[in-house]
């Protein structure tokens, strides 16, 4: 575990939002911390340690909500730092990020969205639990080059597949569909099964994509 994650866990498990937020902002202010390190090595592991999305509940649900709220506050606070780092791109490709219907775990999707912003994309996070009645109009209006679907609970792969089928019906292969998230990582053939084009799980994955797209 990253040393900051260890330090962070203390106020975090006491539901002490102010201390958690201050701890992280202090490091960002001093430029001692990269956003992707914060997300991947601090926030994700501490969140997983209290709210495993696929196991029996280890903490109570209200506590999971409080702690998820702390993480989301920190993510929101990171935005100015992300903008500072984000390269200036002439025509930034649009990336649309959402979670399928009934998927309420949105932290991973928000992190992914920020990774795309960090790498020069015009990334738009729609939300958790996004049904076709929401994402189809969004696709029509924003004409994204990439769609990212984030799935935590593996049951929601069913809804993800349905979403991908619906996107293909209106857009064919003109949009690259990316899947990621906890539910995807454990399932070998899932990309093909879902009909997605790519699996991206890490900052390094997004970074490599951006290099390929000539943004970095």
């Amino acid at each position: 575990m990253h040393p900051l994650a260890k330090e962070f866990l203390v106020p975090f498990t006491q539901d002490n939002k102010a201390v958690c937020v201050r701890l992280v902002l202090d490091r960002l202010e001093k430029a001692e911390l990269e956003i992707h390190t914060l997300y991947e090595q601090v926030l994700a592991p501490v969140l997983n340690s209290i709210a495993p999305s696929d196991q029996e509940q280890t903490s109570s649900i209200w506590q999971e909500h409080v702690r998820t709220g702390i993480i989301e506050t920190i993510i929101a606070c990171c935005y100015p730092y992300i903008l500072k780092k984000s390269p200036k791109v002439e025509i930034a490709p649009t990336v649309l990020v959402f979670c399928p219907a009934e998927e309420y775990h949105q932290v991973g999707a928000r992190m992914a969205c920020d990774f795309f912003t960090l790498c020069g994309y015009h990334a738009v996070f729609i939300g958790a639990n996004t049904p076709a009645t929401e994402f189809l109009p969004a696709i029509k209006s924003l004409t994204p080059q990439y769609i990212v679907i984030s799935i935590s609970n593996y049951y929601n792969l069913v809804a993800a597949k349905r979403a991908i089928d619906q996107i293909r019906t209106v857009a064919g292969d003109t949009i690259t569909i990316i899947v990621g998230g906890h539910a995807v990582s454990r399932n070998g053939d899932i990309r093909k099964n879902l009909g997605a084009d790519l699996i991206l799980q890490t900052y390094a994955d997004v970074h490599a994509l951006a290099k390929g797209d000539g943004l970095l």
């Binding site: 593996y154 049951y155 069913v158 597949k161 399932n187 899932i190 099964n193």
Partner: protein, 228 residues
């Protein structure tokens, strides 16, 4: 990995004035001691699939292997014996005999299997009923039990021959959400304590998402095969 059950290239065509194919080249293997859910919309072929897995119905094409044994060459009696020894069934409607007590219903498969019921079997029935939380009502006529108790009796009945595989077709489909939760907890407990392989058809998201694996059937084909 040892497979409890395996389907190889299974097709199913129902005869009739217009023959209809409802399963298309299904290949599926279920590992021993695994807990699996099958989902899919109504009419997609789930029950047909389960009946073929349980050898209650024959595939039109393809093979069914139970505990690494092909069922292709078994006679009707051979199949019945294999089924009786290795597979327990639970259905949405429990098919208990209403005038018999819960205990008598649980012992029923044994009456069919052999003519004498040994003390060992009766003891086992009591143990299973205790595991299912039925000790207090086991001498009640089954018609006078609650829906949840009746379904638990049906599960106990499915377990009496100590099957290595339980096939369940919407076992909680007829129960309210709280009773569904308890019934599901009991199935999990059996899975852990008796090392039984479970394959459960369910509409209930809460049941499916706790399984180790979910297979989605769509139009007679495997649409998704997902692991937790």
């Amino acid at each position: 990995m040892v497979n409890a059950l395996e389907l190889k290239h299974v097709d199913k065509v129902y005869d009739g004035p217009v023959p209809t194919q409802v399963l298309f080249d299904i290949n599926l293997a279920f590992a021993e001691n695994s807990f699996n859910a099958i989902i899919g919309s109504s009419g997609s072929g789930k029950s047909t699939l389960l009946n073929i897995m349980g050898t209650l119905d024959r595939a039109t094409k393809g093979e069914v292997w139970v505990n690494s044994q092909s069922t292709a060459k078994l006679s009707r009696d051979g199949l019945a014996e294999l089924r009786n020894q290795t597979i327990g069934f639970v259905f949405q409607f429990h098919f208990l005999l209403p005038e018999f007590t819960a205990l008598e219903n649980v012992l029923l498969p044994h009456r069919i299997g052999t003519s004498i019921i040994s003390k060992e079997i009766v003891d086992r029935a009591h143990d299973i009923m205790e595991l299912m939380g039925l000790s207090k009502v086991k001498n009640n006529p089954s018609a006078r039990m609650s829906g949840g108790q009746q379904q638990r009796t049906a599960i106990a009945r499915a377990l009496i021959n100590q099957p290595s595989i339980i096939l369940a077709d919407e076992p909680t489909g007829n129960l309210d959400s709280e009773t569904t939760e308890t019934t599901y907890e009991l199935l999990r407990k059996i899975h852990q304590e008796l090392n039984t392989t479970f394959i459960i058809i369910t509409h209930d998201r809460r049941v499916a998402e706790k399984a180790d694996r979910i297979v989605e059937i769509r139009d007679g084909k495997i649409a998704l095969d997902m692991y937790r």
